[in-house]
Structures are given as C-alpha cells and as structure tokens.
Symmetry: C2
Subunit: 403 residues, 2 copies
C-alpha cells in the first residue's frame, strides 16, 4: 500500500482542506492519505476551537484515512520545529510522499530555494544573528536574512506564511535525510489570515472569527464547512459548553503568573530576555487576554511567539523537559486519533516495518511526549462544563474513532 502524508491543523476542517485532500490524493496516487494533525493546541499558539478527537473524527468523515497526532511539544513551535515533528512522524509511518499547498504548487522551486540556502548559509546565519541582536523578532530577522540571499521573490517568496511552512518541510526532509518524496499543490483562494469569509473556500481564521462572533453556525459559515464538520461543531459546543478561545483561559493564565516567582516563570519554555518580569508586571493590570497581549507585545516578541509562550505557561512546560525532547531525531511513538478501514489496513500492512509503538489510547505508562499531551488535554478541558470535564478528558484513555 502506498501512502501520502498531509500536515494539518483542521481548525476546523473546511472546503479548502477538502480541496487539498482531494488534490493530494490525486497527485500522489496514494491508496491511503494520512494526516499528521496538531492536538488541542496549535502552531500559532492557540487552543483549537474544538478538541483533537472531534477534529480527527471530522477529518475521517471528510475523507482522510488516518489521523496521527503531532505531539504538542512539536506542534506549538516555530515552523522549523513544527516541520521537524510532522515529518519525523510521517517518516516513522513509512509514507511514500508528503504533499503540501503552496503559492505556486511547484515543488522544484522549493528544492532550488533549499540549494540556494545551503550555498549561502553562512551569510544567512550572519544576517539573522545581527538582526536578532538589533532587537528584531525572529520572523523579521529571518525575512531579512532570506532577502539577503535572494530568497524573497522569484521562484519562492519566503515572506508568504504558506511558503515558509512548505520550505521548512523541504528543508527538514533534506536535513534529516528522510526517504519520502515531497509534492506540492497550488492553493486556491488562499489568503492565509483573511479575517472575513468571502468565498466558500475561506481561511480557517475567518471561519473561526465568524463562529466565535455569533456563537452558532451562521449561514455564511455553513457555506465553508462540510456537513459532518457542522454537525460535530454543534455537538461539541452542546457537550463542552463552548468553542475554545484564548479568552476562556485568561483566568487560569493570570492566576498562574501572579502566583509564580519570576525564577519559575523563567524556567518555562520560550521565556527569554527578561520576559518573566514583563509578564508579571502586565498580568496584574490586564482584564482580558487581548488586553494583556497588547500590553506585552514588543518589536522582538511577536503576537504568535507570545501566544506560544502562553501555551507553554498554561501547560507548565519547562525548558528542561521540552528542550531534550525537541533535540531527538526520531519520533518515539505514533498516536492514532482516528482512522477508517483504509487507514486500519495501512497500519496493519505496515505494522512490521513501523519501528515505534502505535498508540491508540494512553495507558498508565506514558512516554515523556505523551505525558505532555495528556497535560495539554487536562489544561485544554479546564474551561469546559464541570460535569463533562472528566468524560472529555477520558477520551485520552479510550479507543480512537473508527470510520
């Protein structure tokens, strides 16, 4: 059996994702499409609108064959570490290809960009370092550095978020010597962060904005979401009591910062350069999450970077725990979130060549990565209905959805 991997968040699954899925299946000619999906917290440092189990189920109902969790240690990171985690996961799964969306849909341009990068790596590093020292944020600094080596236009423009991710995927495949083939398809209506819905293929951001604003699935939102996704979104809200949003976690975050010593805040993954003091000073005055973020933001600390730090704070993720896990160059287990018959057949077919445990439900003994994912779920569900919380948390221990 032949498999193609997708790297996704599905927050929530929409018609753009469906298009990506269908095109990838076609381009790869794979029997099985596997999605590596972020769990309850996402790459840009946000809680997912509904939990990973329901998002995985929705993906299966929309045509994905197998959904594997990208451990949160890798999911809530910059694009390079996110790509590393996702591709190491796909490598352990023995997929034949990975297929991602990009502006041009041509994989060769990414390979050329990577070659250019390796040729000019020294210059890139130099400029990156200088810009960081000057107080620029990492995204800005790396943009300057890419520009300096000619990677800001032409074949691949690395100022576009989806190109950065795609480039990170290609880079990871090269740098970790992975065996899968990289494929790319052209995105349609793909303005990544478009705030409002204006087409049936809309950005996930615009769909979430619409959902949070109205607290129900409006007719406009319905246009953008496959039926099973609408159903699952409604059921989740009914049970958990909410669609998750950062503001729901404001009380917990503020409480945490105000009862931690600065020394403890400094131990949290991502907290650098005296941010521990700034967090404490701004916490006491904030009366909402947005408010707090606005007070915290600086040239160096982008919104996304701060949000990721808030995830690590919420999860009580310490540097000493996270850093060694990020440094590993293989994935110690594969966590199945949902699958259909094809996915099951693939797993059975490959069982002998997959060298790491396939985990379908968390057991008493957990790997360090799984322990952190369990903690992430514990934190994630802390804002749900009291009487449903333990049931929602128990999903970690029960068998995954089988489509």
């Amino acid at each position: 059996m032949n498999a193609c991997g997708l790297i996704v968040e599905y927050n929530p699954f929409h018609f753009g994702h469906l298009y990506h899925l269908q095109q990838s299946r076609k381009k790869s000619a794979a029997d099985c499409v596997v999605a590596v999906m972020s769990g309850n917290f996402l790459q840009r440092g946000e809680p997912a609108i509904i939990d990973k189990f329901q998002r995985a189920k929705a993906a299966i109902l929309c045509g994905v064959d197998l959904v594997i969790e990208l451990p949160s240690v890798f999911a809530v990171q910059n694009s390079d570490l996110f790509a590393k985690g996702a591709l190491l996961t796909l490598e352990e799964l023995k997929v034949d290809s990975v297929c991602f969306g990009s502006e041009h849909g041509e994989i060769d341009t990414f390979l050329q960009a990577y070659n250019r990068f390796t040729q000019h790596r020294e210059k890139y590093d130099q400029i990156l370092k200088r810009s960081l020292t000057e107080g620029y944020s990492f995204p800005e600094a790396s943009r300057s550095a890419y520009q300096a080596i000619g990677l800001n236009s032409g074949s691949v423009d690395l100022s576009k978020p989806n190109n950065i991710l795609g480039y990170s995927y290609v880079k990871a495949i090269k740098e970790y010597g992975l065996s899968m083939k990289a494929l790319s398809i052209k995105r349609v209506h793909n303005d990544y962060h478009e705030p409002e819905i204006n087409h049936s293929i809309a950005s996930a951001t615009s769909i979430r904005n619409e959902l949070h604003k109205h607290e129900h699935i409006t007719d406009i939102a319905k246009e953008t979401l496959p039926d099973p996704v609408q159903q699952i979104l409604m059921e989740y809200k009914q049970e958990a009591g909410l669609w998750h949003n950062w503001q729901d976690y404001f009380d917990l975050l503020q409480y945490r910062i105000l009862t931690m010593q600065v020394e403890e805040i400094r131990e949290i993954h991502g907290v650098e350069e005296g941010l521990e003091y700034r967090l404490k000073e701004t916490a006491a005055k904030a009366d909402s999450f947005i408010n707090w973020m606005t007070a915290l933001k600086t040239k160096r600390y982008t919104w996304t970077r701060l949000q990721r730090i808030f995830v690590h704070l919420l999860l009580n993720n310490q540097k000493q725990t996270i850093q060694p896990l990020l440094n590993k160059d293989h994935m110690p287990h594969l966590r199945i979130l949902a699958m259909n018959k094809t996915g099951r057949a693939y797993v059975n077919h490959k069982r002998k060549v997959i060298g790491v445990p396939l985990v379908s439900q968390l057991k008493k003994q957990k790997s360090p990565l799984a322990l952190i994912d369990e903690k992430a779920s514990n934190a994630y569900y802390s804002v749900t209905n009291h009487d449903k919380r333990s049931k929602l948390r128990r999903q970690e221990l029960t068998f995954p959805y089988m489509g």
Copy 2:
C-alpha cells in the same frame, strides 16, 4: 500606653467577637486593643468570605483599635504554628497582654496544663509518635497523647477546639519566653462549629453557611452581625461579585493538579506520604470541591489538613520556601491592615521600642513573608469580577483604612 492583643480571624466579625473584644478590654484594662488577624486564607485552610482589608475595616468600626495581619505562612497551619506566628507578632508589637476565649475562662488551668505537659513530655511524644505511625491523623494522635498524660478532662479538656488554641497560646508564650501576660475570658454560646444559627451570638461557621446558602444577608443572619459588618459584606459582594467559598477555586485547583508532575506536587508545603499520587488520581474524576475532598479524605488526612494543603497548592507554596520561614523565632515585619486614632497613637508611642518595620502598604521590595501574602492576595482575587480584580489587588499597595 497599655495594649491587649487578640488573636482573630473575623470571618466575619459577629456579636460573639464583639463580646470577646469588650470583655478583653475590661479584663486587661488596656488603652488599646490590637487584633492579629489571619489574612485572606484562614487557619482551617479556607478562603475568607470577604478580603482581609474589609474584615479589618469592619473590626475597627466595631471597636478594635489596630489590626495587624498574621502572615499567611503562619495563619494556614496547625494550632501550634498559628499560635507561634500570632504571639511572635504581638511580642514585636510590645503588647502587655493577650486575651483569648476558653470554655472555663480561667488562665490558671492552662498554666497548670502546660506544667503537666512539660513533666510528661516524653510520654506525650512517645504516644503521639506511635499513633501517627499507626495511621492516625495528627489531631487524633495528639488527643490520645494528651489523654495518656491526663489532659483530656478536669482542669483543661484538650479535646475542645478553643481549648486547644488557648493551650497553644500559653505553650508558645512559655516556649518562646515571651513577656506578655496571658488572660482568658469565658466564651458564651460557644459551640465552635455549630452549623446553624440559633442565637444572636452564633458561630462564624453557622453565619457563613447562612450567607452562602441565601447569597444575601437574611433576617436571621442580621441578628448575628453588627451593622457595619452587614454594610461591608454587601458592598464587597457588589464589587467583587461574590462571597468567597472553596468551590469558587475548584477550577484553578483542578487545573493546577492536572498540569503538575507528581514531583512538583510533592514539593508543595504539607504534601506528605504519597498524597501527590492521590491528589492526581482523584482530581481527574472530581466535579466539585466537596466531591474531591470526600474522595481524598482518609483516616490520616483530616478535612482541615487537606484544606490547608489546598491553600498551599493554590498559592504555589513550596516546602523549601515555607519551612525556613516557619523556623524563625521572630516576626520580621508587622503589616498594618487598619487602625483608628487609638491604634495610631499606640503605634507612635511604641515606635522607638518596636524593633521591626511597620508596613502599611507593600512596596517593590518585599520580605519573603510579604511576598507570599501578596501571592495569597493574587490567588484570592482570581475569582472576582474581571474588571475589579486589579483594583482589589491594588489594595496591597495602598494605605490602610483609618477609622
């Protein structure tokens, strides 16, 4: 000027407290009555119904001259450590006497009991240790040990909670060689934990039950509370949005336990004998505070002991921070919560002989004890109205109430 000290919690101030205040003033013939009061968390391991600033103001309006905070490090402890903290505070304040309520109101019986205790200390220690090894809780074990040396009846019955506190006061005076005189007055209608109001002098427990049950001050509750206290209770609820109760902190506590490693839970003050595992196991299933406590309670872990541990968990109080502070044998500062003219005159009169700083508002530089009290306030107000939280917290930094 001559001063008499009272050791109080005023949760809330009621007619029984007023009686104690008036009788103490009479018995001591003091010019100034000083109350050492627990802050936002109390000896039995509970959040106070309203904050320490409002409770202190109520005390002044009801006739107390000066209210000093008992640092939470000492307040949320067993009777011996609570007594130590309170009496060391009064010692630094240079009061002439301390006056407490007891079943018989005769101080000599406490002194005799103390003498008996010192004569039979070895036997007491032996039996205490044996009972603890057998799995009894500390209160039960010490009750057996007192019984074995004849301190369970007759002159002083140490099975009555108020006698235990009084005895702890006398013991602390003797053991730390303090210079104040101990006085006792007889309590009236003094069933300490009576659950329901049945007299205008009612237990604080019964008054709180009535208030929490009805969420307003019923006619029955009014009978037990001086007018200024009623006023303050209403204003506080208006502003903060609640009268504090453990259930309000359930989300924070459950979230904390479920995102801590067992090794971290073990570092919390009061967590011993594998309780860290029990806390984690029971947390996931609990859907209310009472529920959780019921699941946690064992022969060894009394309700009160568990509640105190929950305070230390909520405040993130680690053993390594708390233990050295408990071992000190003087109070490093005196925190003024409220005062009237007499209280101010007393402080001015004694300023030269008081050897430690008199703190009327927290500054940037804080002693370790004050840092923990600030943290306690931060945690305490975490459940109040969003838009009032920072104002409520700012009380720590502003000048105390002056009656």
